[in-house]
Subunit: 306 residues, 2 copies
């Protein structure tokens, strides 16, 4: 007979929902994983529910479910709209609750942003294992960031939306208007995948070795890294996503952050230098789903024993 | 006989040390307050110790002492240099421990930055009473910021140093090099008291009503407010210090932040609009010393009963 509790984990993304069940981030059974393309909310969520129904039928009841969702999403447990996707350009998804369909499993459900969940997982199990604070940034179609500090992820008015900070322009990049529909030339408008495509008509991974675009992108993202260090004082900053990894941008990001901070913060003395301070994800593509497991495990621990 | 514990509180500033003792931030006895000008570390700290010795002789032993210190300061309790001022331009103060002289009182000592302590006090007792997250910014000789979120203040690699973030330049302010010795035209280099003086040869409070400087300064500080909202998602942002209050900059700060965020965050729906979201301190000049009391009370609660 099984003694350890079974958890459900969902990484709810704009293109796919990754669903898994297991005894923790490292214990996913072969038949307990599904990737569901993100379509209209109704059918997508119905397929998710059906997956967990089958899991429960086979392996027993779920102890808790953790959801790592694309944003903006209401993660404030005191709010009447907790668990709902907020105003989003994704057709049909505005105001849809991603937790309500899970209530039928009769177990606690926790939800956080995908990047907050990834920050939690990287801080507990990945590139920052053992550290007390970590920021996780992903650069792709959009730019998102999550923060783990003081033993939890950050939320408040909403949740971190650091892709939309304003940045100082690179002198070589003064004429581009930016692609963000809200802000034009915010960080996301200048350094996301679509912004790379709009300016240089290619993907970041296809920019030639000495193309100035790498330095321009690294400069903007390094400005974010420096801003994270100065605003939140994280012990590690993790950069994931196709634009960074494909574009091999980490060295440029480190250089720009180091240049701006100019020895002002104890990065050498206390973080072992910029090579260690600004780094790739330790969990690769699995940070989000691992974070969803950790959310489920946290919320199960907080419930009174049944 | 006294039954409630007596706490010591110190606001250790660059120009003065404010010392107080009492049963909490609201319960300071008339003879339990001293303002000691900040001189060389030895004599200054000796005067502080003498003040608390007299207090203890008269009112009994201190249960705990809280220190709200100027930075940079090591507030990491796991660090070997915990409680020391780090590299600072203040003559003689680099590497000085502000907690070691207090050990003779045989009670727990807690230390945080002055602005973190002020954020804590404003979140518990001031402009954000009842909220779960708040940022406190002060603009004077320098620009400092503290953050309260998830029931504690933020620390990690160091502590927030948000005065030194890079900002996008106002088109009317392209030629000024900035006054920050580390970064030149970081926020502090563009919007602190010395930066106002260097550009316009006057203090912020003396800028004429329609001087463009107000809008320029408000724009930079509004950029910080928007960055705080996007990075940390605080429920309230408090701006204190002579440059803001004297210069009557709050309306400009709100306008710039609102303009940049452009409806992207639920400031209207969830914070009651920018008037309430970005605000003056509720505790005025007392936020730092009130925060020091709260630090003392927190650390006393965490100790096993004696």
């Amino acid at each position: 007979m099984r003694t350890s509790p079974l958890y459900g984990a969902i990484e709810a993304g704009g293109t796919k929902f990754v669903c898994a069940a297991g005894y923790g981030p490292g214990g996913i059974a072969e038949d307990c994983r599904a990737v569901i393309p993100t379509g209209a909310p109704g059918p997508t969520l119905m397929t998710v529910v059906e997956f967990f129904r089958q899991v429960a039928r086979k392996h027993g009841a779920l102890a808790a479910i953790g959801v790592a969702a694309f944003g903006p999403v209401d993660i404030d447990t005191r709010s009447a709209t907790w668990g709902r996707i907020l105003a989003t350009p994704k057709p049909g998804w505005s105001d849809v609750s991603v937790v309500a369909p899970l209530e039928r499993f009769g177990c606690p459900v926790a939800i956080d942003t995908d990047v907050n969940a990834a920050a939690l997982a990287e801080a507990r199990l990945g590139a920052g294992a053992g550290l007390g604070s970590l920021a996780y940034v992903t650069v792709g179609t959009g730019i998102g960031g999550g923060v783990f500090v003081g033993d939890r992820t950050i939320k408040g008015l909403l949740h971190p939306e650091m892709g939309h900070i304003r940045v100082a322009r690179d002198p070589r990049d003064q004429d581009f208007a930016g692609t963000c529909p809200f802000h034009g030339d915010c960080l996301e408008g200048l350094a996301s995948g679509p912004a790379v495509m709009a300016r240089w008509h290619t993907r970041a991974e296809s920019l030639p070795e000495h193309h100035p675009g790498r330095e321009v992108l690294g400069g903007y993202l390094g400005q974010l890294a420096a801003t994270i260090a100065l605003m939140i004082s994280c012990e590690r900053i993790v950069f994931g996503g196709g634009v960074v990894s494909g574009g091999r941008l980490l060295p440029y990001i480190r250089q720009a952050a180091s240049q701006w901070l100019g020895g002002y913060l104890p990065v050498e003395a206390r973080a072992g230098g910029f090579e260690r301070y600004i780094t790739a994800p330790g969990l690769g593509e699995s940070a989000g789903i691992a974070g969803a497991f950790l959310l489920a495990m946290q919320t199960a621990r907080r419930q009174p024993a049944g």
